[in-house]
């Protein structure tokens, strides 16, 4: 196979894969942080009302 074609295909697949993983990881991180903060917000709301 032509070396340039191989270089082209690997370049495309690596960068696509890398970017996709980066997006996925960041999305999960943010989802977790949001869940955490929402949970603590509920607790805080709960406590504020009673005070």
């Amino acid at each position: 196979m032509n070396p340039y074609v191989e270089a082209g295909y690997t370049a495309v697949s690596c960068s696509l894969g890398g970017y996709a993983i980066f997006l996925g990881v960041r999305s999960r991180q943010v989802r977790l942080r949001l869940a955490q903060l929402r949970a603590s917000a509920q607790r805080a709301d709960g406590s504020l009302e009673d005070a």
Partner: protein, 242 residues
């Protein structure tokens, strides 16, 4: 997992499968061209990238226009514009990369001021500026309005850049016989693979923008929660001091 997330995952998986299929077809099944031999296989990964970059910038501009118009101004449009621009810059980068790899054997050098590569490079810089503008800390509406205007200015410029660079190049050398995307006759299985490539990468683009959009939407919600907390703090200080 909500229906929405399932759908998004479905899009992601379909994209993955279709890309794999395109690669398989592109590399092994389709015949090499007479003149260029196997090099023609770059056909399946270069033009789709450029097409998606333009698609991405079109969506960014549409979302920016919707955001600019007061009646339809919603935070979502601003976030979609940003997510699509980010994917657009990514795909423009890939267009330049695959373009120079494809051109390398033909021109003997990684970069030539060929019309296609140059206009794509300017496109890359245009939207890089847009992303840089978005990174600057500002209030949300200020950032929304300003980046929407920057997106408008950039999108109007795309055809002008294209026009001037092509004049600049074609007036000089006749359209170079070896210019990769011009003189390739596409038929039969090659055409199908190319079409598949377009669809596959478009699906990948959709998945990327969707994920990026949801992430930034959640980040915005995070910011709202922090604001609420700051408000509660200030209120509690208020109650104490009364």
């Amino acid at each position: 997992m909500s229906r929405n997330a399932k759908l998004k995952r479905g899009v992601g998986i379909t994209a993955l499968v279709m890309i794999a299929l395109t690669f398989w077809l592109g590399l092994y099944v389709t015949p090499p061209a007479e003149v260029m031999g196997n090099l023609v296989r770059m056909l399946y990964i270069h033009p789709p990238m450029a097409w998606i970059a333009y698609l991405a910038y079109g969506i960014t501009t549409a979302a920016s226009l919707l955001y600019l118009w007061k009646r339809t101004r919603r935070r979502e449009w601003d976030l979609i514009a940003a997510a699509s621009a980010e994917a657009g810059v990514f795909f423009t980068g890939l267009t330049i990369l695959t373009g120079s790899i494809w051109g390398r054997p033909a021109w003997g050098v990684w970069w030539t001021w060929d019309a296609l590569l140059t206009s794509t490079a300017v496109l890359f810089l245009l939207y890089l500026g847009y992303l840089a503008l978005r990174q600057v800390p500002m209030s949300e509406t200020k950032r929304g309005v300003r980046s929407a205007i920057a997106a408008l200015v950039a999108f109007i410029d795309v055809p002008i850049v294209h026009e001037s660079v092509y004049w600049w190049k074609t007036l000089h050398q006749t359209p170079s016989v070896l210019n990769p995307s011009l003189n390739v006759e596409v038929h039969g299985s090659m055409a199908w693979t190319l079409l598949l490539g377009f669809v596959a990468f478009t699906m990948a683009y959709v998945w990327m923008v969707w994920t990026r959009y949801e992430t930034s939407k959640r980040q915005a919600e995070l910011a709202d929660l922090e604001v609420e907390r700051a408000i509660r703090e200030r209120l509690s200080v208020e109650e104490v001091s009364l």
